[in-house]
């Protein structure tokens, strides 16, 4: 399951929370796809400038929205980055951010596919 970019149980719960509206779920996925690149930019920018507070916040927000859509693997790496942001050495932060970027790529691809599928339902 950690290998799966998307957790089906979370998505099912989310669908139920929004009243089983597949089109709305597709909209939520679109919102995520539209808003998340800015968070990755924030993360990279904060890393470059050594702004630990901004880094933590970007990691936190990406964690939160990713978890909402069931991108649990990505949420987990974001959580680790968030926790480390305050005092880990810059090299470790850079490595964790690299992991986040990579997990994000996988989650994004999966969500794009899923969004198309939900929108067509």
């Amino acid at each position: 399951m950690p290998d799966q970019p998307l957790d089906e149980a979370t998505l099912a719960q989310l669908l139920e929370t929004v009243g089983g509206d597949h089109a709305f779920l597709a909209e939520l996925i679109e919102t995520y796809l539209a808003d998340s690149p800015a968070l990755l930019d924030d993360m990279r920018g904060a890393l470059a400038s050594g702004d630990r507070v901004a880094l933590r916040r970007a990691a936190h927000t990406l964690k939160s929205t990713s978890a909402s859509l069931g991108a649990l693997a990505l949420a987990a790496t974001c959580r680790e980055l968030e926790a480390a942001a305050a005092d880990a050495p810059p090299a470790e932060l850079a490595a964790r951010a690299e992991q986040v970027t990579s997990d994000y790529g996988a989650a994004r691809a999966a969500l794009e596919a899923r969004g198309a599928q939900e929108g067509a339902t």
């Binding site: 979370t10 719960q13 989310l14 139920e16 929370t17 929004v18 009243g19 509206d21 709305f24 909209e27 939520l28 919102t31 995520y32 808003d35 916040r57 936190h60 927000t61 964690k63 939160s64 929205t65 978890a67 909402s68 859509l69 069931g70 959580r79």
Partner: protein
């Protein structure tokens, strides 16, 4: 718990995705959702007119600008917002922050990712507590309005009725007294001489002007002397003493009032005469038992006195010449030591089979020593003499 009755929920979260999910979930459950994208916007909304209608706040903690902790702190420090339940939105790995928020006054927390049934349960609990609070506020406001209304009625009543009667109406024993009772009273009946002729020739403005002046002046004396004014009828007025509030020396009070009224009338008479109004003043005072209580019919009741004592006072007043205060035998006997009186003989009064002995009050005994009151021509002295 069904979502019936709804409620207005403010969603405060900086991520669009979370707001969208919550707003949709709330609408699905029959609530009305408001949104704020950060802490500052949330506080602004709560301070606006719309804010007053918010029932519950769903609050994210991590936000730029003003974070959730600060929003919570400010809400709890604000009298107008303190009672609105705040449910903190928190991921399961952030339970430390939840504990901190509960300590700060948050009502509950909502775990992320969101779950419809948990949202429903948390909201019902918080809404129930909010509604209870609203009911308490509503009840307190109603209580205040009710008390205000009672107080206003009491004040208004006191303007329409004698103060004693107004107090009686709102007193615990009021009902029994209003239902009717017998009591010894002193009745004072007074009216103007020449008023009928005056009213036939005067303009309505003049007529009402005179009546207003006269009633205002006399009304003040009646209040000051503790009399119960039964009614004003044009120029006539009936006042009684010893009911509904018992007073020990009701005969003396009644006579003092009558003398004070006569003096006050003299003060009014001068300016009236200059305007060409020829009016005089007479009083009848009698003591006896009367039946007192609510008289009238549904829709219009008065507090009134019925009995020969009232009729006698009114007949004596009718017999009195200008400036005379005629006392019945019993009234005179009660105040003999207090007044300088003169017998006016036995009067034949309508409705009384036998002639009625009466006395005129020249002055109160204390005042008789002075030169003043005697000169104000009580009794048969020509009114013009005082003026000349």
């Amino acid at each position: 718990m069904s979502g019936t009755g709804g409620g207005r929920i403010l969603v405060v979260d900086d991520t669009r995705l979370n707001r969208s999910v919550l707003v949709r979930a709330l609408e699905e459950q029959g609530y009305q959702a408001l949104e704020a994208a950060d802490g500052r916007a949330a506080l602004e909304l709560l301070a606006s007119a719309d804010g007053g209608t918010v029932d519950v706040v769903l609050l994210d903690l991590e936000m730029p600008e003003l974070d959730g902790y600060e929003v919570l702190r400010r809400m709890k420090a604000d009298d107008a917002l303190r009672h609105i339940p705040v449910i903190v939105i928190s991921a399961v790995d952030e339970l430390d922050s939840v504990v901190r928020c509960i300590e700060m006054g948050a009502a509950d927390y909502l775990p992320k990712p969101f779950d419809a049934s948990i949202l429903r349960a948390r909201l019902s609990a918080s809404l129930a507590s909010k509604r209870l609070h609203d009911l308490e506020l509503d009840y307190a406001a109603r209580q205040a309005t009710l008390l205000e209304t009672i107080e206003r009625q009491r004040t208004e009543l006191a303007r329409f009725l004698s103060p004693q009667v107004a107090a009686l109406v709102s007193s615990p024993e009021g009902q029994d007294l209003l239902d009717g009772h017998r009591r010894l009273i002193t009745a004072v009946f007074s009216d103007l001489r020449g008023f009928t002729a005056f009213s036939e020739t005067a303009e309505p403005e003049e007529l009402f002007g005179v009546l207003r002046e006269y009633q205002a002046a006399m009304g003040e004396l009646i209040l000051a002397n503790g009399g119960t004014l039964e009614h004003f009828a044009g120029d006539g007025m009936l006042v009684f003493f010893n009911d509904p509030v018992p007073v020990a020396d009701h005969e003396a009070r009644a006579v003092r009032l009558a003398v004070a009224m006569r003096e006050r009338f003299e003060a009014l008479r001068g300016p009236w005469r200059k305007r060409g109004y020829e009016l005089g003043f007479g009083v009848g005072v009698a003591v006896g038992h009367a039946t007192l209580g609510r008289i009238g019919f549904e829709g219009r009741y008065d507090y009134g006195a019925i009995g020969m004592v009232v009729i006698l006072a009114s007949r004596l007043s009718a017999e009195a010449h200008d400036g005379q205060i005629l006392l019945s035998q019993r009234a005179y006997a009660a105040v003999e030591d207090l007044v300088v009186g003169e017998p006016v003989g036995e009067l034949s009064l309508k409705g009384f089979t036998r002639p009625v002995p009466a006395h005129n009050v020249l002055a109160l005994r204390g005042d008789a020593a002075g030169a003043g009151p005697a000169a104000s021509a009580p009794g048969s002295a020509a009114p013009a003499a005082a003026e000349a």
